[in-house]
């Protein structure tokens, strides 16, 4: 069953075309690797899908419902969870309260505060942050912030996860953990679009690879067909002239 469909998504900043008519559809439980060099439009696409940016043209459907232009909070409540490449949690709030925000405002359940706090503990256990639960988020290391970012993205029990470079900036050990995270998320049946700088991080989980180049989708298919293909080379090395 189709979870997400994007048709003709276009976004421009000033004179620059960030996205020039992007079309794709995603089935439930698919894990998609979204590749493309800096400035190819990956984050802009995430901004559109999470409601932070209204596309100049095009439409987004989530489970058959047209959600183009809905504000982020409505998309979050409809099951879109997102992380940022550079995590900016609620710095002065404790790690626990950070996740509590996500648990409280996205979902109709759990209803009581005790239930919500249990849900927070569950999420903190998943990402391995229980020992920092009482500390202000501003005091977290980069690796811990990335874990918190993931807990936030998961806090609304999302149907679709948009993950932006979970592994970037991490040590090799941290990167291995991210690889294991992806495997767990996949095992839970989540639908995921993941941006990673290195495809190796996603090699075990990706069903499908999308490649953006200057705002256009230039390749879409199983990893074996897309990796090292001419469009991918052009995206990362420029055209042949």
């Amino acid at each position: 069953m189709t979870l997400l469909e994007a048709r003709g998504i276009s976004v421009a900043y000033g004179g620059l075309v960030a996205l020039g008519g992007v079309d794709f559809a995603i089935e439930e439980r698919q894990v998609i690797a979204l590749l493309g060099p800096n400035g190819s439009g990956k984050t802009t696409l995430f901004d559109v899908l999470s409601g932070l940016r209204r596309p100049a043209a095009g439409d987004v459907w989530l489970r058959g419902e047209r959600v183009t232009g809905l504000p982020p909070w409505q998309l979050a409540r409809r099951g879109v969870g997102r992380t940022f490449q550079i995590p900016e949690p609620f710095g002065a709030l404790s790690v626990r309260d950070n996740v509590l925000v996500g648990v409280t405002f996205q979902a109709r359940r759990p209803r009581t505060r005790a239930e919500r706090l249990r849900e927070v503990e569950r999420l903190l256990t998943i990402v391995g942050l229980t020992d920092r639960a009482g500390d202000a988020a501003a005091t977290l290391s980069l690796g811990e912030r990335k874990r918190l970012e993931l807990a936030l993205a998961l806090s609304g029990r999302p149907a679709l996860l948009l993950l932006d470079e979970l592994a970037s900036g991490l040590s090799p050990k941290g990167r291995e953990e991210v690889v294991r995270f992806y495997a767990r998320l996949r095992a839970h049946g989540l639908t995921i679009i993941a941006v990673e700088h290195s495809f190796a991080v996603l090699a075990e989980v990706a069903d499908r690879v999308l490649v953006l180049d200057r705002g256009t989708l230039v390749a879409d298919g199983p990893p074996a067909a897309v990796l090292d293909s001419p469009p991918l080379r052009t995206a990362y090395m420029g055209e042949e002239e």
Partner: protein
């Protein structure tokens, strides 16, 4: 003597070391391409060279004179101009005003009119749009204007950070022609960016950067032919 020499350069941002001992040089009249994957340190290198980032260790010399640790305006006054990624034009000002602001340094001011003529000859499209506001130009024209503004300082060394970012193919073609023309006039250029194949074809000398180190150097053609380049750049 090389125009630009970088020796054992280490630099980064708070807590994160990006450059881990980079050495490279650009001789007079050369086009030097610095390529590498995201996060390799290309922009950081150019920022350090232009004085926007203070290196932690190493040396940067322009025509033999140490410029590391100097402020950006001192470095511009010595003839090194950086055209940053994203252009940073003065959007509400006209093409001509942007260019005149580019000449706002001792070396550029005296010969401003002459420089303007040279720049308009190189970029005829700007000549026809002198009064148009920068923010109303197309992406390609804005990039041309950024390059032209950089030339207004009459630099000895021009550094370009990802000059083709976000530009369409035809615009990149035109831009490459402009760069080739500038290069052929004898200006020394150091450029980074993602359009690796284009940059390497323009380059007389090239460096492949990965995780803050130079892992391969040679002529542009040599790098283009190397398997290591492909392995490093593709995801």
């Amino acid at each position: 003597m090389a125009r630009l020499t970088v020796e054992s350069l280490e630099a980064g941002y708070d807590g994160v070391q990006v450059l881990r001992g980079v050495a490279l040089e650009a001789r007079g009249g050369e086009f030097v391409a610095v390529v590498g994957p995201n996060g390799a340190g290309k922009s950081t290198l150019l920022k350090a060279v232009a004085g926007l980032l203070r290196p932690r260790a190493g040396a940067i010399r322009l025509d033999g004179e140490r410029i590391d640790g100097r402020s950006p305006w001192e470095i511009v006054a010595r003839g090194l101009t950086l055209i940053p990624e994203g252009r940073r034009l003065f959007g509400p000002l006209s093409v001509r005003e942007n260019l005149e602001l580019g000449a706002f340094v001792p070396r550029g001011g005296a010969v401003r009119e002459e420089t303007l003529r040279v720049v308009y000859r190189l970029f005829p499209v700007l000549d026809g749009k002198q009064r148009v506001l920068a923010q109303h130009l197309s992406g390609g024209e804005q990039q041309m204007l950024a390059l032209a503004r950089g030339l207004m300082t009459r630099p000895r060394l021009l550094c370009l950070d990802d000059p083709f970012l976000g530009l369409g193919r035809a615009v990149v073609d035109a831009f490459c022609d402009a760069l080739r023309a500038v290069r052929d006039e004898g200006l020394t250029i150091v450029a980074t960016g993602q359009h690796v194949r284009r940059l390497l074809r323009l380059a007389t000398r090239a460096y492949l950067l990965d995780e803050g180190r130079v892992i391969l150097s040679g002529t542009g053609a040599e790098l283009l032919a190397s398997e290591q380049l492909r392995r490093t750049l593709l995801p």
